[in-house]
């Protein structure tokens, strides 16, 4: 197709999109590379140099030169033999993921991956990082207060009353594991069998009990047995036809 630089499609082809025009309203696209559409005098007039000069009393305004940066970085001692590529700078703000409408506080979820795959679990809410805060309750399914990714979860239509639960003390930093201390390893350590007992701090157990007590009281016997059972697929099950 023949694109003329004077038509709208021709202008778009040369890169003058509507957004470009809002930023550079006085620019006109070249007819071809380095061939401008208007001559010197027309371009002078269009760019408004006459208006700038008029404003400055007949001359172009002179701006003071910015002081050159005196401090220069010390020359590096080592240059790599081949070019080392630097990763591009990423500037984006992390936002809380938008959840599907089916996931609300109190929804029973089926975990699909991880250690507790198949377990049915109560959703308590969403953390600032976007992950879901869930609990078994621990007594019923063995799932503690835990973070879970909404992508690895089936949301059922069954809802449990969690209005009495207080989740203010749980946030992402609560779940971050403590950094293990790296001790200097001596010869003797390699031969010794060091067993580190993994004890759960008492506050965590108490927090778990508090959360679960608020939920367990409102559960019927059917719901209790429901939350204690793992979800499995059996012969004849058609998960694409199942309603959750």
């Amino acid at each position: 197709e023949h694109f003329s630089p004077w038509t709208r499609s021709g202008q778009l082809l040369l890169g003058h999109t509507p957004h470009f025009k809002t930023r550079f309203p006085n620019m006109v696209a070249d007819l071809a590379r380095n061939i401008e559409a208007h001559g010197r005098s027309k371009a002078y007039h269009r760019r408004g140099i006459w208006a700038i000069k008029k404003k400055n009393g007949g001359k172009l305004p002179v701006h003071p030169k910015a002081a050159k940066e005196a401090a220069t970085e010390a020359k590096p001692k080592f240059y790599p033999a081949e070019d080392v590529s630097k990763p591009l700078k990423r500037s984006f703000a992390r936002r809380q993921t938008k959840l599907r409408a089916s996931i609300t506080p109190g929804t029973v979820l089926i975990l699909l991956a991880g250690r507790f795959a198949g377990k049915r679990v109560v959703c308590l809410g969403q953390l600032p990082s976007g992950l879901l805060l869930v609990t078994g309750p621990f007594k019923l399914s063995g799932v503690p207060v835990r973070r879970v990714n909404a992508s690895y979860v089936i949301a059922t239509s069954t809802k449990v009353d969690v209005s009495k639960v207080d989740i203010s003390k749980f946030d992402d930093s609560y779940f971050k594991g403590e950094k293990k201390q790296r001790t200097k390893r001596s010869e003797g350590d390699f031969f010794e069998d060091k067993l580190e007992k993994n004890t759960i701090p008492a506050e965590r157990i108490a927090a778990q009990k508090a959360v679960d007590a608020a939920i367990l009281s409102g559960l019927s016997a059917d719901l209790k047995s429901y939350l204690s059972t793992r979800f499995t697929l059996r012969n004849g099950d058609r998960p694409h036809l199942m309603k959750w």
């Binding site: 089926i110 049915r120 199942m242």
Partner: protein, 132 residues
Amino acid sequence: MPFKRTVEIGRVALVNFGPDAGSLVVISDVLDLNRALVDSPTTTRRSINFKRLSITDLKVDIPRLAKKAVLKKALEEADIEGKFAASSWGQKLARREAKANMTDFDRHCAAVKKMKRSASVRKAFNKLKKSA
């Protein structure tokens, strides 16, 4: 064996294929060997192939190409919807739909009930077997 359900004007049929599958319609006229004009209180009168219909036992007394008001009155007086829902065919369809709409919780409760039932049956059976 003679046919008991005939295609005739006023015969109630179940649409078994298409966007409105599962709905009851009344045969308003027969167009030719393959197609009938079919009508219902909630839809406009349209032609449909007999292959898309399953004819039922039920029939209403209406004239050919009956008006909507006449059709509606006849269906209400005969309580066709109610009679069909009460029939074993209608009940079977309702059961099928209920099963398909079971949620995960419903499926769990049904499974638990089944296990309990079979456990009690087996217990009774074993008791009888032992005493025999």
